[in-house]
């Protein structure tokens, strides 16, 4: 009982520490410092093309109110969601398969290692030759950005299952299926999810890249259009909005991981 009592005492101790040292306060403070620096830099101004933080926020609320931001997101999210869903399902599937099977690894891993190292912007012309300039080309861009890191993380996660856990399963005569479902996959979950978070972030980069370099649609259109007419607050508001959505999406992934797959983390959180 001692250990649990001590652990909960330590946690309660955490609650009584100075309010300024609370993690949430510190996080908000860090955001506030960046926003203040932005506001200051905008007022100097470091460039006529660099709006202040408050101007940008005003433009952001304007675009939310007139519905243009919502419409743009609907357009941008379509290839992003399709591309990410495909990358998550195929990426985790392929990575796990390669982790379990050496032959599949030799066959597949080099492809994804090259894809991860390749500068995607340089490959976009090839994508447009092959898939045109429509939705499919953008989905392919998202997949090519998101999938390699998901595949390679899943592969490594499976490959690094502790030997003693596998021996433990074997010593209790676990079937191959049970060994995978009850030991290998749960043990790999944290690293697979780390790959998903990195992959999702790359997917967001991919979709904006596609909208800037293939055809201007959605958020990419707001950015390029407002840049061309020197409406800088709107341009930066669109960039701010896509970053905010990306961060929230990755936080949501972490929340899903903790609630569904990491009971031991929840117990200590």
């Amino acid at each position: 009982m001692a250990t649990i009592a001590e652990a909960s005492a330590a946690r309660q101790g955490g609650g009584t520490r100075p309010i300024l040292a609370h993690p949430l306060v510190l996080r908000l403070a860090s955001v506030a410092v960046v926003c203040a620096a932005w506001e200051y830099a905008g007022r100097v101004p470091i460039s006529p093309a660099f709006p202040t933080f408050l101007e940008t926020m005003a433009a952001l609320f304007d675009m939310i109110r007139d519905g243009s931001l919502g419409k743009a997101f609907a357009v941008t999210l379509e290839p992003l969601v399709i591309g990410l869903a495909a990358s998550v399902i195929a990426g985790v599937g392929l990575g796990v398969l390669m982790g379990l099977n050496r032959f599949a690894e030799w066959l597949g891993a080099p492809l994804f290692i090259i894809a991860q190292a390749a500068p995607m912007a340089a490959l976009i012309p090839i994508i447009t030759f092959a898939y045109g300039i429509g939705l499919l080309a953008k989905v392919v861009t998202v997949c090519m950005m998101a999938m390699p890191v998901i595949v390679l993380n899943s592969l490594n996660a499976i490959r690094h299952t502790p030997t003693s856990l596998i021996e433990m399963g074997r010593s209790f005569q676990a079937s191959r299926l049970n060994l995978i479902a009850k030991i290998i996959l749960p043990s790999a979950a944290p690293v697979i999810f780390a790959g998903l978070r990195l992959g999702a972030a790359s997917g967001f980069i991919g979709v904006i890249l596609a909208e800037l370099l293939i055809t201007p649609t959605g958020i990419g259109d707001i950015i390029t259009y407002n840049q061309s007419i020197a409406e800088y607050p709107k341009m930066y508001a669109a960039i701010f909005a896509i970053i905010a959505v990306s961060v929230l999406f990755i936080e949501a992934l972490e929340w899903i991981e903790l609630t569904l797959f990491r009971p031991e983390k929840r117990a200590s959180a």
């Binding site: 003693s164 433990m168 009971p263």
Partner: protein, 263 residues
């Protein structure tokens, strides 16, 4: 080293028999060289030897986790071709699943065997109590000390009710005080469970304290260098065993025997 008479007069049934086992790893490392041994039923036999001598390899071959290069192992008269329900393994690094509670970890051997949840948790509950972890059923391994984690590993091995318990340096990752307590608990367990224990350690004191028989292995490639049966009366207070002359003499004799492998 006076052997206890009953070992020879009525050789109790042999639980595990190792015959001519050799192991050469890929890459040519020769771990074991023609080992032949038997392990009497209901006793605790220790494999002791210089570090890196292949004690753990031999234990894993008995467990069916590693295949020998040549030779054979029989458990209860049946040839070992892989892990079996009559053997359970206790791991040096505990091998607990960090994502599972103490209850699920202890019941995991039964879960893999398809025992229904209520039944396996009832059995696990009993062994959780027996190893002194009552109240920790819902805790996760990271919240437990090293000693408590190994108690979980021990309870998991006991829960499947195997006849042979294979323990690979189970107390080596545990602090000295906990270790002593463990050794005393192990003596009680051996007396009470009537199982065959095969125990690997590199600690001479630990081997002499807990063992009915000690198999001394030479350094790699290992052979059986000596089999010692400490004549220690274990019916007395566990504290007194460590001060008894027989205990001290046996420790000294083994040390003299092992010393030559260190130069």
């Amino acid at each position: 080293m006076t052997a206890r008479a009953e070992h020879y007069a009525s050789p109790s049934r042999v639980a595990v028999e190792v015959r001519g086992v050799s192991k050469i790893y890929d890459g040519g490392v020769e771990a074991l060289n023609d080992i032949s041994l038997y392990f009497p039923e209901g006793q605790l036999t220790t494999l002791l030897g210089p570090s890196g001598c292949g004690k753990t390899t031999l234990l894993k071959i008995i467990a069916g986790l590693i295949a020998p290069t040549s030779g054979s192992v029989k458990v209860e008269g049946r040839e070992v071709t892989g892990p079996g329900p009559e053997r359970a393994f206790v791991f040096q690094d505990f091998a607990l699943m960090p994502w599972a509670s103490v209850m699920r970890n202890v019941a995991f051997g039964l879960e893999l065997r398809g025992v229904a949840k209520t039944e396996r948790e009832r059995v696990a509950q009993g062994y959780i109590g027996e190893v002194g972890l009552k109240g920790f059923e819902a805790a996760y391994p990271h919240a437990l000390s090293g000693g408590m984690r190994q108690r979980v590993g021990l309870a998991r091995a006991l829960a499947v009710n195997a006849k042979v318990l294979l323990m690979d340096e189970p107390f080596s990752a545990v602090d000295e005080q906990t270790r002593r307590k463990f050794q005393e608990d192990l003596l009680r367990l051996v007396a009470q469970e009537r199982k065959t224990f095969i125990f690997v350690t590199h600690s001479i004191e630990e081997a002499v304290y807990v063992s009915d028989r000690i198999v001394l292995l030479s350094k790699r490639p290992s052979r059986v260098s000596e089999i010692i049966t400490p004549a220690i009366d274990r019916s007395v207070d566990p504290e007194r065993i460590r001060r008894s002359q027989a205990y001290l003499d046996t420790v000294e004799a083994i040390w003299q025997g092992l010393k030559r492998y260190l130069e």
